[in-house]
Symmetry: C2
Subunit: 302 residues, 2 copies
C-alpha cells in the first residue's frame, strides 16, 4: 500500500485559451490518482466546507480516503494562477491556504503499517511529523517547493535526511543547492542523506542520481499541452505507484525497475497536462497508459 | 570527405569568472575541429589580415584549408559577448562582420566531389550557392540562426528544402516555426523538405525527427562548464563526422547509426564547453572522446 500525503485543492487555472474555475487540484490529488493505476493508494489530506461532493465521490471511488479530513469551519485550499502564451510560465494570482493553514495531520490507524510513503510539497515540519507516525516504512520519497526552501531551508534538508528519495523540480533544486548546474545539484541532494534524487525538468525529462550513477532520461515528446498543472505531481505518483507495484526484492538496488518507474512517471505527467486539472487522469484507461509507455520505451531503445 | 562551410572568427568572451580576448572561434571552426576526430574535413571560410598565424597553423595541422580564403584588406569576423552568472544567457556586445560581409564563397576544385556537406549558420543565399557547386552530394545538413530567420525567413526555408537534414537550436526552431511546442516545430521542419531534423536543447539534449519517428535524447550530464560558446557547432561537427566515418549503405535508413552520431555530437559539445573557445578541442585525444562516449552509452542503456 502506498500512502500519499499532500494538498487537495480547488484551482482556478487561466490559460490564454480558456479559464477553468475552482476545479479539483492539489499535489496529493494528482499524485494519488496517478499512482492508483498501479497500486492501492491511501490519501492523507484536508478539505473544507466548499469541496464539491462530486469531486469527493471521484476520489472516494479510486482511493482509500480514510485519511482525508473535512474541516467544516473553513474553505478548501484555493490556488488561482495564469499561464503565459506558450504555457511555460505561471503567475500566481491568489493563494488561500484556508484549511491547510492549521492542519495537524494524523495518520489513521489503518495506514500506519504502510510500507511506502510519498510526501508531496508540504510544510517540511508536517512531513517529518508524518514520517514518525509510520511503524516500518521501507521507502519514503518527498518533494518540496520554493516557499519552504525560502522559509524553512534547514528543515527541508532535515526532512530529506529522513527519506530514501527526493523528487524535486530543476528551479527548486537550483534554489536549494545554490548552484545553477543540475549535476552539482543532484550530488548535493544526495549529500543531504537520501539514497536517490530525481530532478524534474518538465518537457526535458529528468536526471536520476544514485550513488555515483547519473542517469539522464528525456521527456516523452508531446505536442498537445492544455494545462501544465500537476505534471510534476503526476510524475511522482506514477513513479511511486509503478515502483511499488513491480518491486522484487530491494528496490533501491534495482536500477532497471527505477528507470521503468521514471518512464511511467513521465507518461503519467504527459496525460495530466493534456486536459485541465485532473480531468484526463479520470478519463484514461490502463491500456492508454501502457500503449504510451510501450511507445516511449521503443523511442528510447533505438 | 566532409566539407564544412561557415564562419571562422575571433571572439572576445566574457564570463563572470574570466574574460578571453580575440580567441579563435566561429561556427565552422568548432564544427570542423570536432568532425576532424572522425573523418578528413575540408573547410570553406574567410579570414582577415588580423588572424593570428598561430591559429592558422592550428587549423592547417588538422584540416584541409584550401578553401579558407584570406582577405588581406579587412579584419576577421569579430564577436564580443558576455555570459550571465549561471552561463545560461549570452548578451552580444559587438558584432563586426568585416570579411564575412562581402564574402563570395567559391568551392575549390578539390572539394567539388565531396559527398558530405555541413553548412553552418551562414546567409541562406550563400548556403544555396554553395550547394549548387557540388557535383554529387549525398548528405547535406544545415543550421541557421535568429538573424537569418528574422531577415530572410523565406530563403531559410528554401535552403532547408535543398538539404537532407537540419540541425537547429530550440529557440531558433520556435522562431522559425512560430510555435513554442518543439514537437510541432520538428514536424514543421520536416514539412519544409529535409529528411530529418535535429532540435538542439543545450544541456537538455536533442530531439530527432525522421518520417513519423520522434526520438528524444538526453544531454550528457556535465558539471564543469567554463564557456558555452561553440557547443551547438561542435555537436553538429561531431554528429556529421561520426556519421560519415561510420556509414554503411544508406545513411538515412540507419537509425542506430544516426542515434550513435547524435550521442557523439553531444559528447563533442560537452568537450567544447569545458574550456574557453576551441582550446579543449585541441587538447583532447580520441581516447578521451571514446571514454566519454562509452560512459554516455552505458548511462542510457540502463
Amino acid at each position: 500500500m502506498l500512502t500519499v500525503f499532500g494538498s487537495v485543492a480547488l484551482d482556478t487555472t487561466r490559460t490564454p485559451f480558456e479559464t477553468k474555475e475552482r476545479i479539483m487540484g492539489g499535489a496529493a490529488t494528482f499524485a494519488s490518482m496517478s499512482a492508483s493505476f498501479f497500486t492501492p493508494v491511501s490519501l492523507i489530506g484536508v478539505i473544507g466546507n466548499d469541496f464539491p461532493s462530486s469531486y469527493y465521490k471521484l476520489l472516494e471511488n479510486r482511493l482509500n480516503i480514510e485519511g482525508l479530513v473535512l474541516n467544516s469551519n473553513k474553505k478548501t485550499f484555493f490556488y488561482d494562477s495564469s499561464f503565459d502564451y506558450d504555457l511555460s510560465h505561471r503567475t500566481t494570482n491568489v493563494t488561500e491556504l484556508n484549511v491547510i493553514e492549521d492542519f495537524d495531520p494524523i495518520v489513521p490507524e489503518g495506514y500506519v503499517d504502510s510500507k511506502f510513503l510519498y510526501l508531496a510539497n508540504n510544510d517540511p515540519d508536517q512531513n517529518i511529523k508524518i514520517i514518525d507516525q509510520f511503524k516500518n516504512p521501507q521507502l519514503i520519497v518527498c518533494d518540496t517547493i520554493e516557499y519552504w526552501i525560502e522559509n524553512k531551508k534547514k528543515t527541508v534538508i532535515e526532512m530529506m535526511e529522513k527519506t530514501h528519495g527526493v523528487v524535486i523540480n530543476d528551479q527548486e533544486a537550483r534554489l536549494l543547492c545554490n548552484t545553477s548546474n543540475l549535476i552539482k545539484c543532484g550530488k548535493q541532494l544526495l549529500s543531504y542523506g537520501p539514497k536517490f534524487a530525481i530532478i524534474k525538468k518538465g518537457e526535458h525529462g529528468v536526471i536520476f542520481f544514485v550513488d555515483d550513477a547519473i542517469i539522464p532520461i528525456p521527456g516523452y515528446p508531446l505536442d498537445s499541452v492544455i494545462d501544465p498543472t500537476g505534471a510534476g505531481d503526476s510524475f511522482a505518483g506514477g513513479f511511486m505507484g509503478y515502483l511499488v507495484a513491480n518491486k522484487k526484492g530491494e528496490i533501491l538496488n534495482d536500477l532497471t525497475l527505477i528507470k521503468e518507474s521514471i518512464l511511467m512517471g513521465s507518461v503519467m505527467g504527459t496525460f495530466a497536462i493534456e486536459s485541465f486539472g485532473t480531468d484526463k487522469l479520470f478519463e484514461i484507461t490502463k491500456l492508454d497508459i501502457m500503449n504510451r509507455y510501450d511507445n516511449y520505451k521503443k523511442m528510447l531503445a533505438i
